[in-house]
């Protein structure tokens, strides 16, 4: 099941390879079908998922079965290293509460991204092949339980993303694409070294061999005593934690590694922005939760407040930058940085409330930001500009659009009744109840104020009031005596058209439903998070 959901897009990509490039509609439909099939599978996974199994570490007897679900585990590469012994790499996938929510999010956002890619006319075949490759790699990252497999998926994401930004992006795309590539590669190559070092330090309790299994690595007793990352080798364990953390922090992106994100977002086409903000950023925090924290819990304990401080910086700095932006898309990009800060803050609390909040925030940020970028794309398609002050008074001419923007903006700033509120509230509850992060949380609350400021201000400038003299559209007196809006060279419907509604409505519904009744997602998270908190807790650590 998991293999199918991972490789469906690649299969679609191979089919597209055989389709002549003039058959654009077939290419789009094949991609969409694969994405929909992924969606169906993710619903099945959601239905069959047993929320009582914890995941994170191996179950009884050292086997991942009984702890992880939908596990598929086959030997992939077995070879003999001269003078060292066997090297075992497994194709090992499975989900627990942390990853299953991300799998659902990925399937959702991928499908919406395909719909959003419909109007792309330039090199359609190449676009969808790369898009499908990217979709597979993202999904693979979330289900991989073997570090080697995870790393392969992680790196495979880079190249399609480079081309998707670089070929289909805006005017400054070359710079944005290579910047993205260099930043993320810089982070991930160090991950490679840590991965190798971990391999030499960990044995599988069942077979006794060295292993790449993330499940085995999450149990401290599987570390070899005098190995390079063994429990006594404090210095290298700290170094490894830090370089791994930086690798993931670049993806999040955490201040001061965030500068690639606004560039990438501004240049990327709308669907790629949606994917980038909706799924890719989550890989950073997911990597921390899956790899960084359980493997080096004592370093996490020692560095909790540092992570919290960086989270607070992200929240406030991101929000202040967003406040200063003239470009609507750049504003949303900086708001992403701000919102990912909540995830970091929640994680740094180290307790169940904070961590559940962080995970829930990851899911909600995925849906809300996807919606924000889609809405930015809608207005950009029509007006060919994203400058906030080129608009004004849109609400009376584009009522549906204005309604969606309002709900999305409010969800983003955390209005009660919408999903963003619950996750942010949980994050703050967690951060306040932990002694280490209490003061950090107090400062971070400022971020909410700034968040409300930039969102409301942009809303006001764009949608309320009158058309500005230098606006990106004209007002034409219609036959009925009312004034109608007219965008230059836009022939489609002025307000949201059917395709846009199909993309936006599900996201909106999810945002509202999860704001009122969060249990469908929270229920899946709880037992895994409790297990994670237990693994990370100082009491367990001191018993080692």
């Amino acid at each position: 099941m998991l293999s199918l959901i991972v490789f469906l897009p690649i299969i679609a990509g191979l089919i597209i390879l055989a389709v002549p490039s003039s058959q654009k509609q077939i290419i789009r439909i094949v991609s969409l079908l694969a994405a929909l099939a992924q969606g169906v599978l993710s619903v099945l996974i959601w239905r069959d998922y047993n929320p009582s199994l914890p995941g994170i570490t191996a179950g009884p007897g050292g086997s991942p079965l009984g702890s992880f679900q939908f596990v598929e585990r086959v030997p992939w590469i077995n070879l003999d290293l001269a003078g060292f012994g066997p090297l075992n790499i497994e194709y090992f996938v499975g989900v627990d509460g942390i990853s299953v929510t991300m799998v659902i999010l990925t399937a959702l956002v991928s499908a919406i991204g395909i719909l959003s890619s419909w109007p792309i006319q330039k090199q359609v075949k190449g676009y969808f092949i790369l898009y499908n490759l990217l979709a597979s790699a993202m999904m693979g990252c979330f289900v991989a339980l073997d570090f080697f497999l995870f790393y392969v998926f992680w790196e495979v994401m880079l190249l399609p993303m480079y081309f998707l930004i670089g070929i289909w992006g805006g005017p400054n795309r070359e710079y944005a694409a290579i910047k993205f590539f260099l930043y993320t590669l810089f982070g991930s190559v160090f991950m490679l070294l840590v991965m190798i070092a971990l391999y030499f330090s960990v044995t599988d309790p069942v077979t006794g061999n060295h292993t790449f299994s993330l499940v085995a690595m999450a149990t401290q007793s599987n570390f070899i005593k005098d190995s390079i990352l063994g429990p006594d080798n404090v210095m290298w364990r700290y170094v490894s934690f830090i370089v791994l953390f930086i690798g993931f922090a670049i993806k999040v992106p955490m201040f001061p590694f965030h500068t690639w994100l606004p560039d990438a977002h501004v240049e990327a086409p709308t669907p790629i922005s949606v994917i980038l903000a909706g799924v890719l950023l989550k890989l950073g925090t997911y990597g921390m939760i899956r790899i960084n924290f359980p493997i080096f819990p004592e370093v996490f304990q020692a560095g909790m407040y540092v992570i919290g401080i960086f989270g607070a910086i992200n929240i406030i700095y991101g929000a202040m930058c967003a406040l200063a932006q003239q470009d609507l898309k750049k504003m949303v990009a900086y708001s992403s940085i701000s919102h990912m800060g909540y995830v970091l803050l929640g994680l740094s609390a180290g307790n169940s409330e904070g961590m559940v909040g962080a995970l829930y925030q990851m899911f909600n940020h995925g849906t809300i930001t996807a919606m924000l970028f889609l809405l930015v794309g809608v207005i950009y398609d029509r007006a060919h500009t994203r400058q906030i002050d080129k608009f004004g008074g849109l609400a009376s001419h584009m009522p549906h659009y204005a309604a969606f923007v309002t709900v999305a903006w409010f969800a983003s700033l955390g209005l009660p009744g919408l999903s963003g509120f619950i996750s942010e509230a949980l994050v703050f509850v967690g951060a306040f109840s932990s002694v280490t992060t209490r003061y950090i949380a107090m400062v971070s609350v400022l971020g909410i104020v700034f968040g409300a400021a930039y969102l409301l201000w942009s809303l006001q400038r764009m949608f309320l009031g009158q058309r500005k003299p230098d606006a990106a559209y004209d007002l034409v007196a219609g036959e009925d005596g009312h004034e109608h809006i007219h965008f230059h060279d836009w022939k489609g419907k002025i307000d949201l058209d059917a395709r846009e509604l199909v993309m936006l409505v599900p996201l909106l519904v999810i945002t509202i439903v999860l704001g009122v009744y969060p249990m469908p997602i929270l229920g899946m998270l709880t037992s895994s998070i409790n297990k994670l908190v237990e693994v990370l807790s100082p009491v367990v650590l001191s018993q080692l």
């Binding site: 992939w76 590469i77 077995n78 070879l79 003999d80 290293l81 001269a82 003078g83 060292f84 090297l87 090199q123 790393y151 392969v152 790196e155 495979v156 880079l158 190249l159 480079y162 081309f163 670089g166 070929i167 795309r173 070359e174 694409a177 290579i178 590539f181 260099l182 590669l185 810089f186 190559v189 160090f190 490679l192 070294l193 190798i196 070092a197 391999y199 030499f200 390079i228 290298w236």
Partner: protein
């Protein structure tokens, strides 16, 4: 005083030679092939060049049979310790023959030859003679043989580099190559003479024994000798600071020869380097500290770091693709040296594996560069604009090879780097800083390698000419096969790794 040997001794020598010849069949076969090609060149009429190429290919392929037979032979010394047959040498026999074959295939694809030269007679014969030379380099276990085989390779390489007689760049490259080669050979021979002076032996194993017995008595002299010898070997592998010939030669030489030199002769240089230093120059094996204090490891370490940094950084500014790949080959020499520095079985396995991956991706990259040059007549980065649309398969294949050269999954180059870095980390924490440098420089390399896909895909061509850009069916198939192999072995590398492990056994030393 020199005494004439007695009759019985002569009988013994002849008997031993007869036995040794049985271990020398692939080399003899290839020498016959070399002569046969000259004869074919003289007698053949009509489509002579194609005929020569095909007979070279078939002939080289035939040598696999004889090499394969050698697996069943007893591994050991022949010709009085001048030459050895072991798994390590067998690896390079396959490697050399295969790269010779690829050089022939690539040459057949290169249209520049049709414009520049009429007769290809000596060309193919020289490729075969270079194969022989490289095989002998990998199998020599005596200072004399090392020198002879190295010169055999070098002289053939000089001629091949200057094969475009009317092309000034080609002639200039050949001359530069010759001058640098002569100097470094001289230095190396001087190093050999110092070693001979210390030990009165020319056989590597005996030198090793004598030097080990010597202890640290002449460590300064030995250091000098190591340095001089490294100058000779470093020139062959193109490592900093003995790299000065590479950019000019790689740019000026016919592209197939560039590919051939950058892969095969570099690999042969590595074979020699490993055999010479592992066996002849003593090294502490008991503790880690005695290893880091060891002279030649430190020397190679400096070479390696300098090559990785210099090669990758200077490549950033290159505007000519061949020149860029030349600098990248310097950097890759640095990565390969990392595996030798580790100096164990695992390190050797990693080095051999990396050579295999480098073989595939570098030949692939040069092949596509040739196909593109056939159509555009240029190797300048600017002329790659918009090629991704005009030559879709070539563009995709080149991208895969370049990604593999960077070392990103799911390609073979990634596994190569993984092996090398694993070998470093398995050694404990003393070499981790080296792995750090290796990894940092490969991030730098991403930038210049990606300049090529950047021009191919992200930029529009200056003028759209509706020229036919189809490189032909055979080229398409070969590119697709090479690309597929790069990815396939990147996902399933067990066979290559097992082969590299089998080949890491060297006669005369047991690595741990």
């Amino acid at each position: 005083m020199f005494e004439l040997p007695s009759g019985a001794e002569i009988q013994g020598i002849i008997a031993s030679l007869k036995v040794s010849v049985g271990f020398f069949i692939p080399e003899i076969y290839l020498s016959l092939l070399f002569m046969l090609l000259i004869v074919v060149d003289l007698v053949a009429k009509g489509r002579k060049n194609t005929m020569l190429a095909i007979s070279t290919l078939v002939g080289l392929a035939g040598s696999f049979f004889f090499i394969y037979q050698q697996h069943s032979l007893q591994m050991g010394e022949i010709f009085f310790g001048m030459y050895v047959l072991d798994e390590f040498a067998l690896f390079f026999k396959y490697f050399s023959v295969l790269s010779g074959m690829l050089a022939v295939i690539v040459t057949m694809a290169d249209e520049q030859f049709e414009r520049e030269v009429k007769s290809m007679g000596e060309y193919y014969a020289l490729i075969v003679s270079m194969v022989i030379g490289m095989i002998m380099m990998a199998s020599s276990s005596d200072l004399m043989m090392i020198f002879l085989s190295m010169e055999l390779v070098s002289f053939t390489a000089y001629i091949l580099t200057g094969y475009f007689k009317r092309d000034q760049r080609s002639s200039e490259a050949a001359l530069k190559y010759l001058v640098y080669g002569a100097v470094s050979s001289g230095l190396m021979v001087y190093g050999f003479s110092l070693i001979y002076g210390l030990t009165a032996e020319t056989n590597l194993i005996k030198i090793g024994v004598a030097l080990a017995a010597d202890g640290n008595a002449h460590s300064l002299l030995l250091m000098m000798a190591s340095l001089l010898v490294i100058a000779g070997f470093g020139y062959k592998i193109g490592a900093v600071p003995f790299h000065f010939w590479t950019p000019d030669v790689y740019e000026g030489a016919p592209t197939p020869i560039t590919a051939y030199l950058s892969v095969a002769s570099k690999a042969a240089g590595f074979a020699l380097l490993m055999r010479f230093f592992y066996i002849a120059i003593p090294h502490g094996t008991s503790t880690i500290s005695s290893q880091t204090g060891n002279d030649w490891i430190t020397l190679l370490l400096i070479l390696s770091v300098a090559s990785m940094i210099y090669g990758n950084v200077v490549a950033l500014w290159q505007k000519n693709v061949k020149r860029m790949l030349a600098y990248s080959s310097i950097a890759h020499a640095g990565y390969l040296l990392l595996g030798i520095i580790v100096m164990g079985k695992f390190g050797t396995q990693a080095t051999l594996f990396y050579l295999l991956s480098y073989f595939l991706m570098n030949f692939g990259a040069f092949y596509v560069v040739i196909l593109i040059a056939n159509k555009t007549g240029s190797e300048n980065l600017d002329d790659y604009r918009g090629l991704g649309k005009k030559m879709p398969l070539a563009g995709a294949a080149l991208t895969v090879f370049l990604v593999s050269l960077v070392g990103l999954p799911p390609t073979l180059g990634f596994i190569g780097k993984l092996m090398i870095f694993s070998a470093l980390i398995a050694k404990g924490s003393i070499y981790i800083w080296l792995a750090f440098i290796g990894i940092m420089t490969s991030v730098i390399s991403l930038y210049y390698y990606m300049l090529i896909p950047l021009n191919m895909y992200l930029r529009e061509p200056r003028q759209m000419d509706e020229k036919d850009m189809n490189p032909g069916l055979f080229a398409q198939v070969l590119m697709a096969v090479l690309m597929f192999m790069t990815i396939y072995f990147g996902l399933y590398f067990a066979p290559l790794s097992d082969f590299a492990k089998y080949s890491s056994a060297m006669f005369g030393i047991s690595l741990n």
